[in-house]
Amino acid sequence: MPRFLKRKFFKDLINKLFGNDKKLKIGFYGHPNSGKTTLANRMTNDWIGKPIGLVSEIPHETRRVYRQEHVTLSHDDLELDFDIIDTPGIATKIDYKNFLEFGLSETEAKERAKEATKGIIEAIKWLDDVTGVLLVIDSTKDPLTQANITIMGNLEARKIPFIIVANKIDLPEASPDKIHSVFPQHTVIPISALQGEHISDLYQAMVDKF
């Protein structure tokens, strides 16, 4: 198909799916420390040349929603213009003592725990406002968690398209196949956000899915 027809077909498809006036808003969801912000930073660095948020080893580093508008993804002659919504990780519990292991004082750890609860509420509220989701799962961990199931159930109920990003495949203990086997009905893209492995596969899936 000639390039201009392909582009037109893609834009028509997007308009059909989302309407002319509806902005694409891609939310990053998943557990704390699954690599949402690392991935969001890689994408914004790739496409607009600057990071979106801070990354750290300490869980719940992202405690409020970060938004980057007008990120343009160009892939295979197609373009996708969207906003990135980087959300705090969703969890059902927060124990401030876990933060003490990372060298935080008790006061800092309790403060971080309080902020994290607000961040989780904010992340849940954003489910009403995103038009597509990248559900980031750490491939070295058990994917079958209540938080992941809850997020997917809500996305399906709200008919929001999503891609499961099996992250951290650069680590030797990573098992993206397990994520495939647990969620065979969904699109799973194994990547390393840190090393940039297979990122183009994810961009292709985003163009196809969103």
């Binding site: 969703i90 969890a91 059902t92 519990k93 927060i94 124990d95 401030y96 309790k110 725990a113 309080k114 609860t117 607000k118 989780i120 509420i121 849940i124 509220k125 489910l127 079958l144 209540q146 938080a147 199931i149 809850t150 997917m152 159930g153 809500n154 399906e156 109920a157």
Partner: protein
């Protein structure tokens, strides 16, 4: 936690009881019990929207010194279909409890095993 016996209190809620309640009533019924240290076993499951509301309500109730949140586990069963060919699953029971009590959970497709931590006491249930 039962104050009189220092034991683990478990409340079993039937689906008919839950179905007669609004989502808000269900969530508040669960959160109040779990915050009190009790374990709630419900027949069937919550809708995805109710699960999200439950997490939201839990986050509002977290008190970093006394209540760190909840753990939720479900046991699925095969969905009955007219021709008996369906492979889909539905939630048979849902167990929700305080995160500091539900210490170790082993889950397989048709089996759930949990160790409840009651401070010096330990209760094992299968």
């Amino acid at each position: 936690m039962d104050a009189n016996t220092n034991g683990l209190k478990m409340d079993f809620l039937s689906s008919s009881m839950l179905n007669s309640s609004t989502s808000m009533e269900k969530i508040s019924m669960i959160v109040n019990r779990v915050k009190n240290g009790d374990l709630v076993v419900i027949e069937g499951g919550l809708t995805p929207e109710e699960e999200a509301e439950l997490i939201e309500a839990t986050m509002r109730e977290i008190d970093v010194d006394n209540f760190m949140g909840i753990d939720i586990y479900t046991l699925e069963k095969d969905k009955k279909s007219f021709f008996g060919l369906s492979k889909s699953k539905i939630v048979g029971i849902t167990i929700i409890g305080p995160a500091n009590v539900m210490k170790a959970v082993k889950k397989k497709s048709n089996f759930l095993s949990m160790i409840a931590n009651l401070g010096d006491l330990n209760a094992s249930m299968h």
